[in-house]
Amino acid sequence: MAVDADGLKDGDEAPAIRKPNLKLWAGLTALAFLIHIPLALFYAPEDVAQGAAQRIFYIHVPSAWIGFLAFGVVFVCSIALLATSKRKWDDIAAASAEVGVIFTLAVILTGPIWAKASWGIWWTWDPKLTAVFILLCIYLSYLALRQYVAEPLRRARFCAVLGIVGFLDIPIIVMAVSWWRGEHPSSVLVKGGMPHKDLLVLMMGNLTFTLLYITLLKTRIYVNALKRAKQEEVAG
């Protein structure tokens, strides 16, 4: 295993940057959206109380789940990086954190719009939304840390530690915020007993946004690799 000058190890397949098959992934993602959006806007039954506003749910919830997935990926890659010092783990973690922030930002933006439409107020300190907001702050600080450490191996390690701490903090944050808002912790997680049609559209949403995540992740990793090669070319 070659140890590059900056301390991170490259795998045996290192030298050439392979462009991922983005057309395929982007195509699948676009197709999924073409199915999902009409389903969400027309097929999904309207909620009696909330009316049409409920449809935002089909953008809001998948964004949340996939954002959470993204940070889970950061967590796993962080551990792998500390264990092996292989560059690819840092590459994936960095890209996943950035993409995760975008998805989480979507949750924070659509949440208040949904809240305003359903309950008339923008922000209610709802435990789930509050916890997501704190999560967003943690991963923004991750991105900040990436900017402020110059040396690659050190940056990878520091961010890995933050990635691990941040992810393990999530259940504790959820508990603390729920208790703070007077909610019983057990109601925090999965909504049981959704109507059939709603569940179907939600599942489609999750699939769609997962495809979006994979496409964006692969693109970001590729772009970062190109950028690094460019910087080495300029420096060398």
Partner: protein
């Protein structure tokens, strides 16, 4: 009955905001990718 047009407005805004966010990110990423592939430097981020 009065509510429905209001609520639909919010739904539209919700989808538009999400589309704007994701769309902006996608467009910027793709532009960056093409510029790097062509060989231009794109700066620190």
């Amino acid at each position: 009955m009065n509510e429905t047009p209001m609520t639909v407005t919010y739904v539209v805004w919700g989808y538009l905001v999400a589309a704007a966010l994701y769309g902006t990110y996608i467009v910027r990423l793709v532009i960056k990718m093409h510029r790097l592939e062509r060989g231009d430097d794109v700066g620190p981020r």
